[in-house]
C-alpha cells in the first residue's frame, strides 16, 4: 500500500517562518486565551474559535474605561466553547495581560459562535458587539460600558439553527446580518424588536437559487429581510461584504459561492467548489477577486470582473477554514504601472501581486502570492491605452485628469465592461451567452449607481457628492472608452482581440453568469467544466509560498494587521505573529497600499465588515494613515 509519511501529527509546531519579505515570529507573550488555563480540556468538541479585533478611536485622556492605562486602543474578542472574552489587545509591543479581561461571558445551554464590533458607532469608551449563538439567538452588548444588552431571536421564533456568521452592514450604525445553518440570512435593525410571534414572510425578490422575503406586519419588526440561499437547508458558512460595501459574497454547504449586489439584491455571479461545501470567503482589498476555501482542501480564486474561477491553490491537507488577504503586502514588478491599479488587467506588463493567507483544519498556515500573470485571462488582449508614468491621471481615450479617489471605482466599472465585452465578442459560440453577460454587466452598472444613492441615503455615510460624481464620471468614461456603451449589445462591438477566449470557452460560459437559466445552472454536475467550476487541469494551480504547521489544534481564525498577524485555533489560543522587522522588498508597498487604499476608500462607506483591515484609515484621517504606513515600513 501507499506509504504516507505520517507527518501530520509529528511535525514540530513552528514558531517562525520565512517569506521573501523576511521572517515572521510568534510572539509567545502575546498569546491570548482564557485567563486561567488550568484544567484545560483539549478537544472540547467542535469549537470554532473566532476573533474580532477593533481599534477604538484614540481617547482624549487615555484613561478610558476598559483601557489598562497602557495606551492601547485595540480590543480583541474571541469565543471558546461556552465562553467569550474581550481583552485590551496590546499587539506585539507588550505582553498580554490575561488577568483583567475587559469583559468575559459564560453562557449556559448555548455557545457563542461568532461576533463583530461596530466600527461606526464606537467611541473611545464604548463599542457595540453583536454575538451569534449555536442555538440561534443573537445578543448585542457593550463590553466596555456594559450598559447595553439586547437579545434578538430570543424565543428562537425566527430561526432555531446555529448562527454561523454575523456582521454589521458596512457603514451602518444599526443594521447587522446574521447567517444561520438553516441556509438563511437575516437582516436585523438593532433598534427594532423581534415581535412575540413567528414572522410571516412575503416574497420580496426571487432569483436563481435564492429568494428574499420581508415580514408581513403592520409595524416594522425584525428581521427586516430574510434571504434564503442555495439548496434547501444547506448551511451558510460565511459571508463577506466587498471592500466598497456594495457587494455581498456568500458561501454555503452546497458548495456555491454566490455574489450579490447587496442593495439591488441581484445575483451577480457564482462559483462552485471542486466538491463539498465552501467554508470561508474574503475579498481582495481592491474588490477585484473573491477567494473561497472549503472541503475540497483548496483555495479558489474567483474574478469578480470575469465571473470565473481563475486559479486554485493546493497545499492544505484538510478543509480550509479561513482565507484572508494581507492588504499590507502588495507589490508590483513594474514601478511605471504604479498609477494604474484599477487598470492593470489591461496592462500585462504591470504585474500586481496579492498576498493571501489561509488556515485550515490541518493546523497549517499557508501564504500565497497571487500574481497577475496567473490571474489575468490567458491570451489577454493588450489595451490600446497608454499610461504616462508621471501623470496622476489615466487617460485612455482622451478623458483627462482623472484623479484616483474619484476614479477608483468608476474606472473599475468601465473597465469591467470592457473586459466582459472582450470576452463576449471573443466567445465563439456567442450571442446568447454574450447577451447574458452583457445583461449582467448592465445590471451591475446600474446597480452601482443606484447603490450609491441608496446607500448614501439609508446609511447616511460620507460624501454623497463624491460618489455621485464618481458615478457620472464613470458613466462618461465608459462611453468614451472604445465606444462601449453601458447597456447596448456588446455583440456588435469589436473586441480588440478575438483570441481572448480559447480557454474561457467550452461553450458553457452561461453557468458562471447570473443570466444563466434556473435548474441546470444549480446542478453541480452540469457546472463541471464551466467557468464556475473548471476541471482541475483547466485552471492554474498555485502552490503556497509558505506552508507551516503552527498549532496543535485545527486553526479557526486569521487576521492581518499592519504590524502583525493573528491566528487562533480550536483549543482557544489566540496567537500573534510579528511581521519581519524590516521588509526588504516591501519598500514600495506602503505607497502602493496608500494608493489602493485611497481608491478603495473613495467608494466604500466603511469597513465594518472586516475588523482586521485598517479601520482607522477609513475614517479618512490622513495622519492615521501615515502612522500606519510608518509602521509597515
Amino acid at each position: 500500500m501507499a506509504v504516507q509519511p505520517d507527518s501530520g501529527g509529528k511535525d514540530d509546531v513552528k514558531t517562525q517562518f520565512a517569506t521573501r519579505e523576511g521572517t515572521y515570529r510568534l510572539m509567545t507573550l502575546s498569546e491570548y486565551s482564557r485567563p486561567n488555563r488550568v484544567g484545560y480540556t483539549s478537544g472540547a468538541g467542535s469549537s470554532h474559535v473566532r476573533v474580532s479585533l477593533v481599534s477604538l478611536p484614540p481617547g482624549s485622556g487615555g484613561g478610558a474605561p476598559g483601557s489598562d492605562g497602557h495606551g492601547s486602543d485595540d480590543r480583541i474578542c474571541f469565543n471558546h466553547g461556552k465562553e467569550l472574552y474581550v481583552y485590551v489587545y496590546r499587539g506585539i509591543k507588550k505582553a498580554a495581560d490575561l488577568s483583567k479581561p475587559v469583559d468575559k461571558k459564560m453562557y449556559k445551554g448555548t455557545n457563542p459562535t461568532c461576533h463583530d464590533f461596530n466600527t461606526v458607532t464606537m467611541t473611545p469608551d464604548s463599542v457595540s458587539l453583536v454575538i451569534g449563538f449555536s442555538t440561534g439567538q443573537i445578543q448585542l452588548i457593550d463590553p466596555i460600558k456594559k450598559e447595553l444588552s439586547k437579545l434578538y431571536n430570543e424565543e428562537r421564533l425566527i430561526d432555531k439553527t446555529r448562527v454561523t456568521c454575523i456582521k454589521w452592514v458596512p457603514g451602518s450604525s444599526n443594521l447587522f446580518i446574521a447567517a444561520h445553518a438553516s441556509g438563511q440570512l437575516y437582516v436585523y435593525n438593532e433598534e427594532l424588536t423581534c415581535g412575540t410571534t413567528a414572522p410571516h414572510y412575503q416574497i420580496f425578490k426571487q432569483g436563481d437559487g435564492y429568494s428574499i422575503h420581508t415580514c408581513r406586519t403592520k409595524s416594522t419588526r425584525n428581521p427586516l429581510y430574510r434571504w434564503v440561499i442555495g439548496a434547501e437547508g444547506s448551511c451558510i458558512n460565511e459571508f463577506a461584504f466587498s471592500p466598497c460595501g456594495a457587494n455581498l459574497a456568500v458561501v454555503s454547504q452546497d458548495g456555491f459561492l454566490r455574489v450579490f449586489h447587496y442593495d439591488t439584491m441581484e445575483l451577480i455571479g457564482r462559483a462552485r467548489s471542486y466538491f463539498g461545501g465552501f467554508l470561508c470567503v474574503c475579498w481582495s482589498p481592491d474588490g477585484k477577486y473573491v477567494v473561497v476555501g472549503g472541503e475540497d482542501d483548496l483555495v479558489t480564486v474567483w474574478s469578480f470582473s470575469e465571473l470565473r474561477v481563475v486559479a486554485r491553490g493546493q497545499g492544505h491537507r484538510s478543509w480550509v477554514s479561513v482565507v484572508a488577504f494581507d492588504p499590507y503586502v502588495v507589490s508590483f514588478s513594474d514601478p511605471e504601472s504604479e498609477e494604474s491599479v484599477e487598470d492593470d488587467r489591461q496592462k500585462p506588463e504591470g504585474v500586481q501581486c496579492y498576498r493571501l493567507g489561509s488556515v485550515s483544519q490541518d493546523t497549517q498556515l499557508c501564504l500565497w502570492d497571487l500574481t497577475e500573470d496567473v490571474l489575468k485571462p490567458p491570451m489577454r488582449a493588450r489595451a490600446s491605452t497608454h499610461l504616462s508614468p508621471n501623470s496622476q491621471s489615466f487617460s485612455p481615450n482622451g478623458v483627462p485628469g482623472m484623479k484616483l479617489p474619484k476614479g477608483g471605482k468608476t474606472s473599475k466599472i468601465g473597465h469591467k465592461h470592457a473586459e466582459l465585452s472582450q470576452t463576449a465578442a471573443g466567445e465563439a459560440s456567442g450571442a446568447k451567452q454574450t447577451k447574458s453577460k452583457a445583461n449582467n454587466v448592465a445590471t451591475l452598472n446600474i446597480s452601482v449607481g443606484k447603490a450609491k444613492e441608496e446607500s448614501s441615503g439609508t446609511l447616511g455615510v460620507n460624501s454623497l457628492t463624491q460618489r455621485l460624481a464618481g458615478f457620472s464620471f464613470g458613466d462618461r468614461r465608459s462611453e468614451h472608452r472604445r465606444n462601449f456603451s453601458l447597456s447596448s449589445k456588446p455583440v456588435e462591438q469589436k473586441a480588440p482581440a478575438a483570441s481572448a477566449v480559447a480557454l474561457r470557452g467550452r461553450g458553457a460560459g452561461a453557468g458562471a453568469g447570473a443570466g444563466a437559466g434556473a435548474g441546470d445552472a444549480c446542478d453541480p454536475l452540469k457546472l463541471i467544466g464551466t467557468p464556475a467550476c473548471p476541471r482541475f487541469d483547466e485552471c492554474p494551480v498555485l502552490e503556497p509560498l509558505v506552508c507551516k504547521k503552527i498549532a496543535h489544534e485545527r486553526l479557526t481564525a486569521l487576521l492581518f494587521r499592519g504590524e502583525y498577524l493573528v491566528t487562533a485555533c480550536a483549543d482557544g489560543c489566540v496567537n500573534t505573529w510579528a511581521r519581519p522587522a524590516r521588509a526588504p522588498s516591501a519598500e514600495r508597498a506602503p505607497r502602493r497600499l496608500d494608493r489602493s487604499e485611497r481608491a478603495d476608500r473613495a467608494d466604500r462607506p466603511d469597513r465594518a465588515d472586516r475588523p482586521d483591515r485598517p479601520d482607522r484609515a477609513d475614517r479618512t484621517d490622513r495622519t492615521d494613515r501615515v502612522d500606519r504606513i510608518d509602521l509597515v515600513d
Partner: protein, 343 residues
C-alpha cells in the same frame, strides 16, 4: 450462545420504545414506502459487520426476510446468513471478532465467485443476475471477462497496474482529510526495504517509485481507512484515532482518462452514503456501528437499534485530535456513491 440469547431478550424489551421513536422521528407521512429499517441482532461477531452492506448488496434470503416483514422498522436475527457464512468460510466459523474490512472484501469477492460459478453452469442462457439486470453471457468468451454487478458497482481501475479499487485502503494522518489521504495514496509510493522493486533492466531489487492514477471510477467508492498501525515499541498493533475529515460530497483529483473510448466519467461526483464506524480503543476488539443515508435521512444502525441522526452529527466520527483519550468512534470504511448512479 448465551450472549445471543441475552441480546435477543434485550432486543425484545427495548424494541417497543426504540422502534416507535424512529418512526416518530421520521414521521409517518415521510416514511419512505417499501423501505424497512431493520436492525440486526448481534450474534457475537458477524452481525456487527454486516449492517453496512445491507443497503447495497442484496443477499437474497436476508433481504427477502426483511422485505416480507409488515412492520416498517424492527430487527431481525440474521441466523440464516450467519449459518451460510460459517459454512462458506471456516475462518468465520467461530466467535472471534473479525475485521469489517476483511469481512467486506470476503463478502464481495465471494458473492462474485458465486455469480461466476452460476454463470458457468448456464452458459449461453440469458441470466437474471442478482441486481435485476439482464446479462447476456457469450459462451465463446472466457466466463470471467464478463463483469458481474459486483464489478459494476465496486470496481475501479488504477493505471500503474490494474488493481481492483474494492475498498481501497488509505493511510491516515492526523488532522487531514480523506482527500489528502487519497492523494498520498495515489501520488507516489516508494518501494523500498522489503518492498523493493525488481527491475527488469538491471535484474536486481531496487528502490523504486510508482504513481497511481485512477483510470476508471467505480460506481461505489469504498474507502478503507488504515486505522491500525503496528508499533514496534509495544510489539503490537494500536488503533489510530487520528482526525480524518470526510465530506458529504467527494470528487477525485487524480483522474485521467487516457483512452477516449473508455466509457468512464472522470468528473464523477460522489455522495457519502454510508460509513462503518469502529468504536473502541484497540484494533483487536471493539464494536461496529454504521450510519447509512436513506431517502435523505441519516440512520444509525447499532446492532438491533436504528436511530435517525442529524447529518451534522457525522463529524463526531472524524476522530480525535489528541492521543489523550483512549477510546474513539471513528469512521473506518466510507462508502461514496456516484451521483449519476443514484439518479
Amino acid at each position: 450462545m448465551s450472549i445471543c440469547q441475552d441480546l435477543g431478550l434485550n432486543f425484545q424489551q427495548r424494541m417497543g420504545a426504540n422502534i416507535s421513536q424512529l418512526e416518530r422521528d421520521i414521521g409517518s407521512e415521510q416514511f419512505p414506502p417499501n423501505e424497512h429499517y431493520f436492525g440486526l441482532v448481534n450474534f457475537g461477531k458477524h452481525a456487527i459487520a454486516i449492517q453496512f452492506y445491507r443497503p447495497y448488496i442484496f443477499v437474497d434470503h436476508l433481504e427477502k426476510n426483511i422485505a416480507t416483514q409488515k412492520k416498517k422498522v424492527g430487527s431481525i436475527a440474521p441466523k440464516k446468513f450467519i449459518a451460510r457464512l460459517r459454512k462458506e468460510k471456516e475462518e468465520f466459523d467461530n466467535y472471534m471478532q473479525q475485521d469489517a474490512h476483511e469481512f467486506l472484501n470476503f463478502l464481495i469477492n465471494h458473492i462474485n465467485e458465486i455469480i461466476l460459478a452460476e454463470r458457468n453452469q448456464s452458459t449461453l442462457k440469458v441470466q437474471k443476475n442478482t441486481s435485476g439486470e439482464n446479462v447476456t453471457c457469450n459462451g465463446t468468451l472466457p466466463q470471467n471477462t464478463e463483469p458481474t454487478w459486483v464489478h459494476e458497482i465496486f470496481q475501479g481501475t488504477l493505471t500503474s497496474e490494474t488493481r481492483c479499487l474494492n475498498c481501497e485502503t488509505v493511510d491516515v494522518g492526523q488532522n487531514t482529510s480523506i482527500t489528502h489521504c487519497l492523494k498520498c495514496f495515489s501520488d507516489t509510493e516508494t518501494l523500498n526495504n522489503d518492498n523493493k522493486f525488481k527491475c527488469d533492466h538491471c535484474s536486481s531489487y531496487q528502490e523504486a517509485q510508482k504513481r497511481m492514477r485512477v483510470k476508471k471510477l467505480p460506481l461505489i467508492l469504498a474507502l478503507h481507512l488504515k486505522r491500525f498501525k503496528y508499533m514496534e515499541q509495544y510489539n503490537r498493533h494500536i488503533k489510530v484515532s487520528h482526525r480524518v475529515v470526510f465530506p458529504l460530497e467527494l470528487r477525485l483529483f487524480n483522474t485521467k482518462c487516457f483512452q477516449s473510448d473508455d466509457a468512464v466519467n472522470p468528473d464523477r461526483l460522489y455522495d457519502l452514503v454510508a460509513v462503518v464506524v469502529h468504536c473502541g480503543s484497540g484494533p483487536n476488539r471493539g464494536h461496529y456501528i454504521s450510519i447509512v443515508k436513506s431517502h435523505g435521512f441519516w440512520l444509525l444502525f447499532d446492532d438491533d437499534m436504528v436511530d435517525k441522526i442529524d447529518a451534522s452529527a457525522i463529524e463526531d466520527f472524524y476522530g480525535l485530535t489528541s492521543d489523550i483519550q483512549k477510546s474513539s468512534e471513528t469512521g473506518y470504511i466510507l462508502f461514496y456513491q456516484s451521483r449519476d448512479a443514484s439518479c
